[in-house]
């Protein structure tokens, strides 16, 4: 695709509901990142994939958060039993390879509001 695509763009969930956020990286991009951005703050790292392998999940805030990328392309971030503090923009980013010279491209994010 032309850019990193995320869906849904906006999601309102009732507290306790499960949500799934999807990321379509740029075609052929090996590296994929998820970040969480609370209102008025900078993004914070959640997890990193290289192809289908989840190489770093140290930023996931609790065991209610789970991410997968089973075929090395599309990724899904799942949040179980959502709580109000989960309200944030969830940003997905991808890059062509793990090499640092490759630019990281961000999507427009999925805005999650938990009520």
């Amino acid at each position: 695709g032309a850019g990193v695509s995320q869906s849904p763009r906006y999601k309102v969930a009732k507290r306790g509901q499960d949500v799934a956020l999807r990321c379509d990286p740029i075609s052929g991009h090996v590296s994929l990142f998820w970040y969480q951005q609370a209102l008025g703050q900078g993004p914070e790292f959640l997890t990193y994939f290289q192809n289908e392998a989840q190489l770093d999940k140290s930023g996931l805030p609790s065991d209610r958060f789970f991410a997968e990328r089973p075929e090395g392309s599309v990724s899904t971030l799942k949040i179980q039993r959502t709580q109000q503090e989960d309200s944030a923009v969830y940003l997905c980013a991808s890059s062509l390879a793990a090499e640092l010279r490759n630019t990281i491209y961000f999507g427009e994010g999925s805005w999650l509001t938990v009520v």
């Binding site: 990142f33 703050q41 900078g42 993004p43 640092l100 990281i104 805005w111």
Partner: protein, 115 residues
């Protein structure tokens, strides 16, 4: 752990003038990269400029330039000939010099360019 600090929550500048955004960081790494990202209301993070720590020469991209002071751990962004389209949130970010490294962001500076 790395930290990135942006001490100016808000800045404003008149169109066509020059403005400088400040950023300091703390790390024990010797090999790393620094970035400035722009985030308009759409929330998509757009790369403005990047600097490799091993390069002494300051990076420039058209109207954007940085003042990288490695010993002082300072990385400021200068925007020349400011345009209305430069109005956005600006984030300073740090990344270790290893493949698959995460970005660590500052709190951001809201820049407003006034006509």
């Amino acid at each position: 752990a790395q930290t990135v600090t942006q001490s100016q929550p808000e800045m404003s500048v008149q169109e066509a003038e020059t403005v400088t955004l400040s950023c300091t960081y703390d790390t024990s790494e010797n090999n790393y990269y620094l970035f400035w990202y722009k985030q308009p209301p759409s929330r998509q993070m757009i790369l403005v400029i990047r600097q490799e720590a091993y390069k002494q020469q300051n990076a420039t991209e058209n109207r954007f330039s940085v003042n990288f002071q490695k010993a002082a751990k300072s990385f400021s962004l200068k925007i020349s000939d400011s345009q209305l389209g430069d109005t956005a949130m600006y984030f300073c970010a740090f990344m270790k010099g290893a493949s698959g490294s995460r970005l660590t962001f500052g709190e951001g500076t809201q820049l407003t360019v006034n006509p």
